[in-house]
């Protein structure tokens, strides 16, 4: 009952929160002294990057690990990993786009040879590589195993991205929202808007993931229906 309700509400709540983020970000919060209206990107870019790195890539990695661990091995995990990785590609691309849009006016270029930027792009290639690897393998169990191992190996990149700003001390913003000891650096309505944006984009991820998962399920159903007929046809080949 509760589960059903939350399932039903996921879409509408996501939409409302996204709209709220948009409204607060565009009209209610003040412009910045240095950055002017550009600062409003802070309600989009960090939240999207958070989803790309931790929520979606993380989901894919955890699901892959659960697949590899014998006691939790199931095709459900494989499917979750696959769907999460697809959504992750979308969010990584969005991170790159919003970052570039932000970088153009602040740094004067679309792209800088900054460690975080480069490692984010590499993560994107890894996510695409994951999908390519899936395409290249036909046997379902082998595909599941290989892609799970690849996802876990790729996840090493995530902490590298996170710490890159500390290790390399380059252009990209360091920890602006939270300091290392988790005290909030910005206050009032701005902080609230930021928080809402994180929640909204996280919910958006789960909404997309669920939609993608359902699509995969219905494809699987269609596949097993097709299997019945192709088994039948194959058997009839012999009857002639």
């Amino acid at each position: 009952m509760m589960k059903q309700l939350s399932q039903r509400l996921l879409g509408p709540v996501t939409l409302v929160l996204l709209a709220l983020t948009f409204w607060l970000g565009m009209w209610v919060t003040p412009p910045d002294k240095v950055q002017g209206d550009l600062v409003r990107l802070v309600y989009v870019h960090p939240a999207i990057a958070w989803v790309a790195l931790y929520v979606s890539f993380g989901t894919a990695t955890i699901a892959s690990a659960l697949y590899l661990w014998k006691r939790t091995r199931s095709m459900v995990m494989d499917r979750v990993a696959h769907c999460a990785m697809e959504v992750s590609v979308v969010f990584i691309i969005l991170t790159l786009i919003t970052g570039s849009i932000w970088g153009r006016p602040t740094w004067g270029v679309w792209w800088a040879w900054d460690a975080r930027l480069t490692s984010t792009a590499i993560l994107g290639v890894l996510a695409v590589g994951y999908l390519a690897l899936r395409r290249a393998n036909d046997d379902p169990t082998l595909r599941a195993r290989r892609s799970a191992v690849f996802a876990i190996l790729s996840a090493i990149n995530v902490p590298i991205i996170h710490f890159s700003v500390l290790w390399w001390k380059t252009l990209h913003q360091g920890a602006t929202v939270f300091t290392a000891n988790r005290t909030l650096l910005i206050h009032g309505i701005m902080a609230w808007t930021l928080l809402i944006s994180f929640v909204a984009f996280t919910l958006l991820f789960f909404w997309l993931l669920r939609a993608r998962y359902r699509l995969e399920e219905s494809r699987d159903r269609a596949r097993s229906a097709a299997l019945a007929t192709s088994l039948d046809m194959r058997r009839r080949e012999g009857a002639i």
Partner: protein, 217 residues
């Protein structure tokens, strides 16, 4: 000859990109038996042998081969105990006959001294230092046989072993079959002709449309 089953398949289905290569095979093979799989082109003979060798995965149904479960067992254990001779019985193309056999012998912990003997038996002595790539079709097939002779597996899976062997090679092969079965190993081979040797009384499984449609002992 013991009577316990070496192969046991129960509704075995094998899929390849959605197409059922095998569409539900029920089969039980006794240890020490000789079976011939026949059937029209594309019926699924090769697919059945590949399944038994652990080279393709079972998509539905259940099965076990030499005691290893096809769904949950360790397929590597299975593969180590079967011998396979395929349509393209090739090994490392850049190594010579001797080097290929030495590799197999060392990998299995067998003495390499048996190599010359085995090569002699399949009649490749005069090509022992020739690169595998340069062998003729029949010579490759003979190399495949010598590889099996070296390994002496429990279950022999031979896909059209007679193809491209010459007359003398076939006679040798018939003799070999008799020895192997007498030695207690199980043999499954696919063929388009009935066996030449009249001394052997194989079980004949006829496949059509990915299923066994007749089974004559």
């Amino acid at each position: 000859m013991t009577g316990d089953a070496v192969v046991r398949l129960d509704g075995a289905v094998v899929l390849s990109s959605g197409f059922p290569l095998l569409s539900g095979v029920d089969l039980e093979l006794a240890s020490g038996s000789l079976s011939v799989v026949t059937g029209a082109n594309g019926a699924g003979k090769t697919s059945l042998l590949r399944l038994l060798a652990g080279l393709v995965a079972l998509s539905a149904g259940r099965g076990s081969v030499v005691g290893v479960d096809l769904l949950e067992g360790d397929l590597r254990q299975l593969r180590r105990r079967v011998g396979w001779l395929g349509h393209e019985g090739s090994f490392y193309d850049d190594l010579s006959v001797r080097e290929n056999l030495a590799f197999a012998a060392r990998a299995l912990g067998r003495p390499t001294s048996a190599i010359e003997d085995v090569v002699e038996r399949v009649g490749l002595t005069h090509r022992i230092d020739t690169t595998t790539k340069q062998l003729s079709a029949g010579q490759r097939r003979r190399l495949g046989l010598s590889w099996l002779l070296l390994r002496r597996p429990e279950l022999w899976l031979l896909d059209e072993p007679y193809a491209s062997l010459d007359d003398e090679g076939r006679t040798f092969f018939d003799g070999l079959l008799g020895d192997v079965v007498a030695g207690g190993a199980t043999v499954v081979l696919s063929a388009h002709d009935p066996l030449r040797s009249t001394a052997l009384h194989p079980r004949t499984l006829c496949i059509a449309g990915g299923r066994i449609v007749s089974d004559v002992t």
